[in-house]
């Protein structure tokens, strides 16, 4: 599903800002001289592959030296990388919730799957207003999964309810058009939450996760990360150039 120009400019702006912030962070928290020296050493050892092509012993030595130079380079980058990774993981997670999936289209069915730890014979799916469950649960017992087909009747937003025994577990669902906050999967584990942070995890030892198969979203034919990466590169390079000029 194509998200259009609005999403494109949002992604580009986000990417450019991220690139510029990255540059500033690297300039602030890394040793530029040592980095240049390590990068130069790595390049020099790469050139040794061509210069001493007839000498396998020298090639092996160049390989070893290159690994050391690379290790040193990464070590020098560690501090800014660690400092940047947390905020950027957050930024990417939020942006991914907006731009990677499109809401369910009105009238078009989607599959909802729940993964459980033990068999739940009386598991039921209750749709919110505007959605309809079309099929009885289909169980794949070897995979510990159960699936339903759900059809949105109109643009709507609500919570699907999974009920068994006397317990209830909710999963958000969205139907309509344009970008919006979409959580593809809600998990019951910390690892699952780290991979799908768009929706808070639930605390239940019976169900692992619940997933809705949303349609893929594209920005001008490509995944949003493509434009984000290009914009981030451009933002970083522009900052480098500006830094050099000033």
């Amino acid at each position: 599903m194509e998200l259009g120009g609005g999403a494109f400019w949002s992604v580009v702006l986000l990417g450019a800002c991220s690139g510029a912030i990255s540059f500033l962070a690297f300039r602030r928290w890394s040793d530029a001289g040592a980095l240049r020296s390590a990068g130069n050493a790595a390049l020099a050892h790469l050139l040794e592959f061509r210069l001493f092509a007839d000498e396998p012993a020298l090639i092996m030595r160049a390989q070893r030296d290159l690994l050391f130079a690379n290790g040193r380079w990464l070590r020098l980058l560690l501090a800014p990388m660690l400092l940047l990774s947390l905020p950027f993981a957050l930024v990417i997670a939020v942006a991914d919730a907006f731009f990677s999936r499109a809401p369910l289209r009105t009238g078009e069915p989607a599959v909802v799957t729940a993964h459980y730890v033990r068999q739940l014979p009386d598991l039921r799916l209750i749709p919110p207003d505007g959605f309809q469950v079309e099929t009885a649960p289909v169980r794949v017992t070897s995979e510990n999964e159960v699936s339903w087909r759900v059809r949105p009747l109109r643009s709507a937003r609500g919570n699907l309810q999974l009920r068994w025994d006397s317990r209830v577990l909710e999963k958000s669902v969205v139907a309509g058009s344009g970008p919006g906050w979409i959580s593809e999967q809600r998990s019951g584990s910390v690892l699952g939450y780290l991979a799908h942070p768009a929706e808070y995890p639930f605390r239940d030892g019976t169900v692992d996760w619940v997933r809705i198969q949303y349609p893929l979203a594209t920005v001008f034919g490509h995944n949003w990360l493509t434009w984000f990466s290009i914009a981030a590169c451009c933002g970083a390079l522009a900052s480098v150039m500006r830094g050099l000029q000033s």
Partner: protein, 692 residues
Amino acid sequence: MRRARFAAGVILCLAILCQWHNRDLSIPEIAYIGPGAGFAFLGSFLTIILSLLASLVSLLVWPFRILWLALRRRGRFAKAQVKKVIFLGLDGLDPELTERWMAEGKLPNLSRLRAEGCYHRLRTTFPPLSPVAWSTFATGVNPAKHNIFDFLNRDLRTYAPELSSAKVRTTTRYFQLGPWRIPLTKSSVEFRRKSEPFWKILGRNAIGSTILRVPITFPPERFEGRMLSAMSTPDLLGTQGSFTVFSTGPEGMPSEGGTRCRLMRNGDAFEAHVAGPELSTVPFRLIPTATATEMRLEVGGTALTVRVGEYTPWIRLRFRTGRWRKTPGIVRFLLTSKDPEISLYLTPVEIDPENPALPISHPGFYAVYLAKLLGSFATLGMAEDTWALNEGAIDEDAFLAQAKSIQEEREKMFFNALDHTRRGVVGCVFDTTDRVQHMFYRYLDPAQSENGRSRHAGVIEALYRDMDRVAGRTMEYADGDTALFVLSDHGFCAFRRGVNLNAWLLRNGYLHLKEGLGDGAGYLEGIDWLRTRAYTFGLSGIYLNLEGREAQGIVPKDQAKRLKAELIAKLAGLPDPEQGELAVQDVYDSETIYQGPYREAAPDLIVGYASGYRASWGAAKGAVTTLVFEDNAKCWSGDHCVDPSIVPGVLFANRKLEADDPGIEDMAPTFLALFGIAPPLWMEGKSLAPAA
């Protein structure tokens, strides 16, 4: 452009990576944790993957390469006596000084080399100049076969001076398209040394060489091996080295070897421009600090603190030489004074080895490799700024610091090459020995007033000791299968008095000036060619104004021999009437000392000055002064542009040589013979290696 290409490459790589992610978008945030980290990891892993691929390819291809090499070398090594030849060239190392200090136990490593192998005085070339001698060293032929007779030669059509070793031809034809100028022809560098150096012959026989800083190797030739150019490599302005002095003080004397510029005050700062190629400039600012000996320098995106008497590291500058073109260069600054006037010395703008604007190595990326691995380095042919010291732009301490730092750069390169060579030839010429002796010989010369008075009186001895250390370190790389040679191209003697042979020719009626123009202070200035039979420029040659050769030649060819004999008879044994000493020991007819196809380009006579004398500074640049003899008042107080018999070089080897009277032309055939290769018939030198 390189940055734009790099940026495009990074974007392309990221785009490809993201397309790859499109296959499964379920967990994109794990794969991508931010641009900064992404750049770092991507760059690092790309490097590792590339290198792994390269080593894999190298290992896979290696058996085939070895097979191919074995086929090429088939039978070649049957007579080889060594696996490796190392030569350590110490430009200008004088035999008398070396022998004296060896006898005094000050050069233990050279003494050991002499004891374990051999030591000889090495006959040099006519004339004993580095470009001539090292060209003969490389080719094994006399100058008439390699075409290098002096630093300078002349254009026969215009009499204009030209560098004898290379000519850079820049583009002159452009197509103008709006704001763009598109060159229609390519710039080129013509290499004027002829004949073939031994490393090319070895390369054809599948024996690689690493040749570092051997004079007259610009532009570098293609051969099987690695080379870094040396003497004759120009700076970015196309000169052989032009320094600049920026000062707030009075303009001072006009400079011969550089430029003097004013530092302009702008608020608290002082500003000026570094002049680059094609009239381009890079501005810089010098900002006073509270410290008495420090200032803040901002130039080319770099800001650093400069201290009085301390060189900055190499600084990369990019000169805008076109709308879309920037030419990179490297410079070093030295704050020579802060109070009462600010004075800032700037080295010549040299070719940046990390991004060379002209070819300075073979393969082209060898200079890049050295710069990336060992740091930036001086690339100028004669990097030690002797003119700056001559003209007081820097003092002796600053000159020595510069020379020391350049020598350290070369030492690193040389030992890197030794570390990476198992078989073949490795050689490097250190010319610090030459430059320091030129500038400090007055402290060794008993006849010069400054002898022994300065705290720099021991500089030359310290330099020889340091070279002994380098020789000792080199000896560690010489095993039983290695032949090691330590040699110099010529020796040294004092330069107390200059001789202007143009003035002598004028007085004796061989040269005439145009009437009303006075004496010619510039290059061959004011000479009446229609009445002039002989003239001189450069360091040792006299040229006849020969009919049919020079554009305005008047000496008929059939009278040339007689004229040469006449000049030889008058000049050989020429005394200096003021000092009562012999000024010219002998004069040689080039027809008798040179044989080869380029003899026509040679000076007609080679002057062998006596010790203590040399062509005067004016004569060297073709000036016609009134005085024939004059005192040499410059710091440049030692020289070797004298009769070759006075200044032989040295030759040490770690094995016995068959040498009664070894000459520098014998080195190339010796190296070939050590690898079992018969020297070509056109080589004149004889192998000194004992028969296997």
